[in-house]
Symmetry: C2
Subunit: 393 residues, 2 copies
């Protein structure tokens, strides 16, 4: 069950998830103008959809995340990636809400992606998959939500790339999103962030095992390149302070340096572990596709350069969260979304949370994040006529 992401028998084709297969006649038309069919979406749900179908929360996952929000991940055996936030009694309370999370298009956990078998060739799509955008991911999610018979989502929530999807949902389908929680997100990918992504892609493509993308046909994987990509990215997910607090300059073995190129410092061992464990669970081509989707994200560009226009007249209630030590999606990026929402006349609250945990804070047990999310959702639930946490049964 492990170590075969993207293989013909792995999660890409046979996910441990619910699956919707759309017919050939129901394709995904992508921003690049491609017609992707048949489209498969793998997803998980938690809780029960009420009779009015008014209590659904769509959780959108980040770059290397997946649909396993609040259950043991079938590939890694670890807890779901957002169990701090999602579960019975948690801010996204599965005893009250019906929670949906689907693997993004371009991913490798069962939704159509480069590791999925292309029915036309019976081989993995690899680099024949069209380039995907955040809007394409959201279009696919909307098809899933349609299929589940849900007109309006009570909430769309997510961090990082998940937050980009939240913003895209609010812009593309304002009437379908009652409230929205984009966390540690931005309305466009910055030049520096594109640069970091390109380093990761170049590391993958420099690995001869990548074989111009056709590595699965050859039964191998560009693990070294993918590990380097992950290590570079991982630094950007933490803050200088958190790295300093966690590792400082401490040596891996004892007090005396060994004067070698092995993992001498603890921070090096940590990075190596991040690299090698990632390779066990993620497909290299998916890394190319999903990073590229983030690079292309520039919500204002789709609205004549005006972010306010993207949200004009929106009735969605927004709650944005940023973290002080997040230098990948800094507070300024969230603040510019807040300004645009204000200019567009939307209802918005915004919290910048003091933490040294960097961008990864959205995934961690940060009490202020949980408290903010709970308060926002409770208030929105009452406005929507749903029972909120403190209400009598």
């Amino acid at each position: 069950m492990t170590a075969n992401p993207g293989g013909g028998n792995g999660e890409a084709d046979n996910p441990h998830s619910l699956v919707v297969k759309f017919s050939e006649n129901d394709p995904l038309i992508t921003d690049a103008g491609a017609v992707l069919a048949p489209l498969t979406i793998a997803y998980q749900t938690y809780g029960v959809l009420n009779a009015a179908k008014s209590n659904a929360i769509l959780v959108c996952h980040a770059l290397t995340g997946d649909q396993h929000v609040a259950n043991v991940n079938p590939l890694t055996g670890k807890s779901g990636w957002w169990e701090t936030m999602v579960g019975p009694g948690k801010p996204i309370d599965t005893s009250r809400y019906f929670v949906i999370c689907s693997n993004v298009v371009g991913g490798c956990m069962g939704t159509t992606g480069p590791a999925s078998t292309n029915p036309a060739t019976h081989k993995p799509y690899a680099v024949d998959l069209p380039v995907i955008t955040i809007r394409d991911m959201v279009r696919a999610q909307a098809k899933l939500v349609d299929r589940l018979g849900i007109d309006q989502l009570f909430c769309v929530a997510g961090g990082s790339m998940g937050g980009m999807q939240v913003l895209q949902w609010a812009a593309s389908y304002p009437e379908r999103v009652f409230c929205a929680m984009p966390i540690a997100a931005a309305a466009r990918h910055s030049s520096q962030n594109i640069a970091f992504h390109e380093v990761g892609r170049q590391a993958i493509m420099a690995d001869p095992a990548w074989r111009a993308g056709r590595y699965l046909d050859a039964g191998e994987r560009p693990g070294k390149g993918l590990a380097v990509a992950r290590m570079a990215a991982h630094i950007t997910y933490m803050s200088e302070e958190s790295l300093h607090n966690k590792f400082g300059r401490r040596l891996q073995g004892g007090d005396a340096p060994k004067f070698s190129f092995d993992a001498e410092f603890q921070v090096e061992s940590y990075l190596h572990h991040q690299g090698t464990s990632f390779v066990e669970r993620f497909d290299a081509n998916s890394y190319l596709y999903v990073t590229r989707a983030m690079d292309y994200f520039d919500l204002a560009a789709d609205y004549g350069g005006s972010l306010a226009a993207a949200f004009k007249g929106s009735k969605t209630r927004f709650c944005l969260v940023s973290f002080t030590s997040d230098w990948l999606f800094p507070t300024a990026a969230s603040r510019s979304v807040v300004h645009a929402l204000n200019a567009g006349g939307a209802s918005v609250s915004f919290v910048e949370i003091e933490t040294d945990k960097g961008h990864d804070a959205f995934l961690l047990d940060v009490p202020e994040l949980l408290k903010t999310s709970r308060g926002f959702l409770d208030s929105a639930a009452r406005a929507r006529g749903l029972r909120a946490a403190g209400d009598a049964a």
Copy 2:
């Protein structure tokens, strides 16, 4: 003359520079306990040493720099790397001062490094060279300064890793340094910086062409890995603002995206250029050695954990400079050196310069940097009994 860095006939063995070859009986004893002999140092000088030998300025170069401070680089055909700062009438005025710059030990431009031929084997040292530290680099420079018959340097100056060497000079040989200019430097390499270096090293070592370090014997070079390392590092040399101002999200060709993995954004083309041009001039093993030397740098650790102890009773005059947008060697790192110098009773001035140019600002035409350096050197020159810029001849 190009494209053969580190080859048997390239700059590593036959540099276009002055060279001192120390005898077998005059080795470099390294921090790792190795005996490196014979030691070769390649260096450049500019200006004339006065009769009192009191006007010498040692310039220390950064990670990928070399001794070609103010002349056309023999490998690249480009101007010297610090021509804004060094030359006739420049702040480090070669009509007044005798300027010395030597390639660091572990480098690839003529000083003993992994690409140099090991006389014992007639093959490149490659990874048989002992791991080098900043203090080893400075010990080697001190041997060169001895050989030139100079007791006390008027000034030791440099940025980034050059600034680390300046601090090490002031700590190891306080009586030999009249004044010191560490620019955009730190007294120790941070956890985050070690992490970025490790990503670069892993990218090089992941390249099968690296061949466990023995690539020169096989007549090839791990160019793809080295290019990835350089691209990752280059992002850290700039600021988010400078990348945004220079490239933003502008596309490489026209207004419409091509939806591909080619260099779609201008920032990607720029990074690719940085990567490929670096490979033409730098040796991959040198990159491993010199980054490792920076990682090991922790000046306080050599003085019982007290940075103030490193500078106690120092009579050297210091001028530190940092840049507001430098996140690799941020102002806080310079400030902690200033505090230690104050605690040690040293004479110190400190300027934080407002700029969006990031760490690379020390290499660029930043008027405030030039003005600060000129003022500091003029004042120190008068105190040393040297003619300063404004003085009558």
